[in-house]
């Protein structure tokens, strides 16, 4: 059966991918022996476009790098610009920025939990989780006026303050959400058919995870203890009390545990932020439109992992160079590798387990390691013949 490896292409349009990307899997029966991916279907040239826009316009463009972690990219960008301009952001501004960060993490992780359930055909959980995600969306909409791209960051602070009524309402909604979360935590970690699909699947050992430079919940589920919020604190995280959740099972189950734990931590952080919300301005006064020459690197713990922005200013209103490194970029290679050895049925959940975001990544990459040399793209006829042979040999069926 040495020649019996077939390659199935998945994407760029495939129901498990909400975004375009292309994977080629070499399969042997139902087992995957090689994997390789092409991304870049989403490359829109944002980095070049940033060089033609001023700093304020860039914020809005970068918000549209990705619709799920839109706040991550703007925060990372404005932090870099603030560093170059040497601006002091008022504490209330930092707190509100952090508040949106954590709300975004909440909605992103809920979204992920739903999508993960959908990948293994657990549509009821998908629907119910997304229903309660709407609660978070409502809070965000009330705060910022938008559901997805909040447009709340600006250089030197945030654009909108919250009122006392909103303050109360957020706490109230959070109370409802927390009750429901308990249920999802229970289901997500104990429902037998769900757990049966995720336990022991998509293994990425701790050592390999460190080598492959993975970040975010993906790394933390492989017992790699990294979290920018703690290691290199920004915004208001210095003043917050939170745990970094890690787990050592190195599989998808661990990633569910880590994300679910982070949802709970996020709820706690939001409460802390709201109770300790300082009075004062929300944005620094007199922000220049021009940034002095210089470069800055800004790190941000997005829901998916570490988001790195590099900004070089040249003394004008327009940045010289903006570089976005989205977390998915660092994780995809490792994720594709972790699929090797499992079944075809595990592809969607294994790829989805890193919460991929190709629009952030919008570049191309490869992977690696064909266990068998000389795999090839097969034609339909070969594929059919292979199937007939396989069943003939293994199940004694003749067609």
């Amino acid at each position: 059966m040495d020649d019996s490896t077939v390659r199935i292409p998945i994407g760029p349009q495939h129901p498990f991918l909400k975004e375009p990307a292309k994977f080629d899997f070499d399969i042997h029966g139902e087992e995957i022996v090689g994997a390789r991916m092409n991304i870049g279907y989403n490359h829109r040239g944002i980095e070049k476009a940033c060089e033609q826009r001023n700093y304020y316009q860039c914020i809005y463009l970068l918000e549209r790098v990705c619709g799920i972690c839109s706040h991550s990219h703007t925060t990372a960008f404005v932090q870099a610009v603030e560093e170059i301009m040497k601006l002091e952001v008022p504490r209330r501004g930092l707190y509100l920025r952090t508040l949106v960060c954590e709300l975004e993490r909440l909605h992103s992780h809920l979204l992920w939990l739903g999508v993960a359930a959908h990948e293994v055909g657990f549509d009821s959980m998908f629907m119910l989780v997304w229903r309660d995600r709407e609660l978070v969306m409502d809070i965000l909409e009330e705060m910022s006026g938008n559901r997805v791209n909040y447009a709340i960051n600006t250089i030197g602070g945030v654009r909108r303050d919250i009122t006392d009524a909103q303050h109360k309402n957020i706490l109230k909604t959070l109370g409802i959400l927390k009750q429901r979360l308990d249920y999802y935590v229970h289901i997500g970690t104990s429902e037998p058919s769900f757990v049966g699909r995720i336990k022991g699947v998509g293994k990425l050992p701790a050592k390999r995870a460190a080598e492959m430079c993975v970040v975010g919940p993906f790394a933390r589920a492989s017992a790699v203890d990294v979290d920018v919020r703690r290691d290199d604190p920004y915004a208001a995280y210095r003043e917050l009390d939170f745990k970094v959740i890690t787990y050592d099972s190195c599989d998808i189950y661990g990633r569910v545990i880590v994300r679910v734990g982070e949802i709970v931590e996020s709820c706690k952080m939001i409460e802390q932020l709201l109770t300790n919300l300082p009075e004062g301005d929300i944005v620094a006064p007199k922000v220049s439109r021009k940034a002095p020459a210089g470069a800055a690197i800004s790190r941000y713990e997005a829901p998916r992992g570490e988001d790195v922005h590099f900004v070089r200013a040249n003394g004008t209103e327009v940045p010289e160079r903006v570089r976005v490194r989205a977390p998915t970029m660092a994780n995809l290679e490792a994720a594709t590798e972790s699929v090797i050895g499992s079944y075809v049925a595990d592809i969607p959940i294994a790829i989805a387990s890193i919460d991929p975001c190709f629009s952030c990544t919008d570049r191309m990459a490869i992977v690696l390691r064909d266990r068998k040399k000389g795999t090839r793209v097969t034609t339909w006829e070969e594929l059919r013949r292979y199937g007939i042979d396989w069943y003939g040999k293994n199940k004694g069926i003749r067609f």
Partner: protein, 152 residues
Amino acid sequence: MTVDFEARLKEAFPNTDIALGGGGRFWVVLTPDQLVPAVATLRDKLSIIQLAVIVGEDARDVFLANYVFTGERVVVLQVRMDHEKPEVPSLANLVPGAIVYERELKDLFGINPVGHPDLRRQAVPEDWPEGVYPLRKDVKFDQEESTAKEVK
């Protein structure tokens, strides 16, 4: 902590220009030949192995490639290249994660990573014109040019 790390970094890179930038980032300026030993030094002496990103830059007279390493602190290795023939040694053997970023250097800036295992077209489509590197400063795009005639 900072002093300590700075001292160790200076010890690891003698005779090199090291600057402490904003946010506590260290900038180390190198020539292309110094890159591979420098990455090995970072790994062995300071145990920093996580490559966050490679940022290419077109500074008009030279090309820059900033290798951002994160770990205990953020260290940026800045490599300066000749504008006429930009080349850097590939880090593919030392840091597997560098493959994607290097490929993108080639696609968007035309910086050639020497010794890269697989240089395919990545960020740009297969039928992208040869020798046009979109992020170079001298490349301007006519907006109306980007129509969809070829697919219709």
